[in-house]
């Protein structure tokens, strides 16, 4: 959550002292839902370069033109799009090749933590 330094900083918001909590739906529906991935920690403050990279990669995942992203790595998906002449952005590939090949945050798609 971004905290702005104008009016709200002076008065303060109610959410500063009481965090927003969404009511979880109770009942049978919850049990049926697949296990959700661990919550990603949200950091206050401006975007770090790493976050920006990850956001670019997430946007790549969500681009439907390049086909489904579940079950294959980002690089595999990029290469498939390249193979079929869909012109995937070159920066994505550079970003993926720059990173160490072990970090699943970079290698795998947005839905990596969901079971198949």
């Amino acid at each position: 959550m971004l905290r702005s330094v104008t009016m709200t900083a002076k008065h303060g918001l109610i959410t500063d002292s009481f965090k927003v909590v969404k009511k979880a739906k109770r009942g049978a529906r919850k049990a049926k839902r697949p296990p959700s991935p661990p919550p990603t920690q949200q950091e206050a403050g401006a975007e770090t370069p790493q976050e920006k990279e990850l956001r670019t990669l997430r946007n790549f995942d969500l681009d439907w033109r390049f086909g489904p992203c579940i079950g294959i790595s980002r690089l595999q998906r990029w290469e498939r799009a390249k193979l079929h002449g869909l012109n995937p952005p070159e920066e994505i590939r550079e970003l993926l090749l720059l990173q160490t090949h072990t970090d699943p945050k970079y290698n795998l798609s947005l839905w990596r933590d969901y079971p198949l």
């Binding site: 086909g67 489904p68 079950g71 294959i72 498939r80 079929h84 869909l86």
Partner: protein, 470 residues
Amino acid sequence: MFSDLSAQKEGSSLLCRPSEDQGPVFERISLAYSPCSERFTVGERSFSRQYAHIYAARLMQMRPLLSERAQQKWGSDVLIRKLCDLQTGEQCCIVGTLFKRMDLQPSILKEISEDHNLLPQPARVKYISDMDELVLEDELQRIKLEGKIDRDKFVTGSVIAIYGAEKNDGKFTVEDFCMADLPPQSPRPTLTSDRFVLLVSGLGLGSTHADSMLGLQLLVDMVTGQLGDQGEQRCAATISRVLLAGNLLSQNTQDADASTKPKYLTKKTQAGSVEAIRLLDEILLQLVASVPVDVMPGQYDPTNFTLPQQSLHRCMFPLSSVYPTLQLVTNPHQCHIDGVRFLGTSGQNICDIQRYSSMDDHLEILEETLRLRHLAPTAPDTLGCYPFYQKDPFILEECPHVYFSGTAPTFQSKLVKGPDGQECLLVTIPDFNSTQTACLVNLRTLTCEPISFSAFSADEDEDSEMNVSH
């Protein structure tokens, strides 16, 4: 043709006194052969992917081809739309994957659902019904189709282009459609002499009634030149290669009980296929000693079930695998024989389309798959298939000269011509076990003729008497 060649005889060499000197030796023609089935071999086997990828890859690969065809057919200014940009009443063309919603299609979910508590559906010959609906899908959406499109003929998974307009009720009225049609073809070399490739399918070894054993032995003897007089032997030498297109073993070798019976009861019993494989090894030994043989696996053969089926393992053929002439290949199989491009399957793809469409004739279905430019459109919907993600290997990128499928009920062949002058010989190879028929493809003229070894076709009783000796 082969039959004419073998009939030319200058005085039979059979009805004469055995001569002192050895008879003439006929060299078998050996032809340049290069297998090109790399795309059907599966290296890493990961089943952790969904099948969405193969449909996505298929559409990605086919879209440019079909857009081009659509422009050829309906003019270069035809409006090609994605479904998301579709406007009601606008005449346009859409490229997408067909999906046929079928009430009768067997579904495991339907069978196990507690609400219905239904008995499992009986196996049917065909699963089409009047309630079927044809739907076209692209990357994002789907739309129901009606109008000038034969609902029963098409199958799920085919990528086509349709032309028409969306009506107010949200359905698309098709006025015309087009398929990818034949892929480009490399020219066929002109050959100076007749040379043949023998196609056989469905040996059916290990079946309970071994009717085909005599026929099979005659076939082997004919190919290896042990049959007939010198004229026939000379002809046998022009058979440069034998291609066994699947179902070498009979369905009976697949013991249905083996999977359901507890282990301690089946521990000491031998699998039905062991004896049949040994028999196959012996038959192959006779063949490979004399002629190169390509062995494709089929539906009932001991390899993986999903297409593409990987080649049978060499260790199953201790006798014949020492010969370099034995080629164990994949199903589907693709190769160049003396510059002539062969492509074909053991017939699962054709049989599956037969079940899910109104088409009955294997040759007609075979031609349809060529026009669709796809070997097995129903995979992975109703036909087992490896979850590919990068590209769909069943899309035909180059037009074969001979396109075959095995395990057909009868022998049929036809020469089809493509829009760009492609020529392709379609062959349905009959099941040898039931028809005792194989087929010979002449590489020079690109024609095909059946060759039958039926011994006692008229009388069934005599056939069953034959069993005793085997």
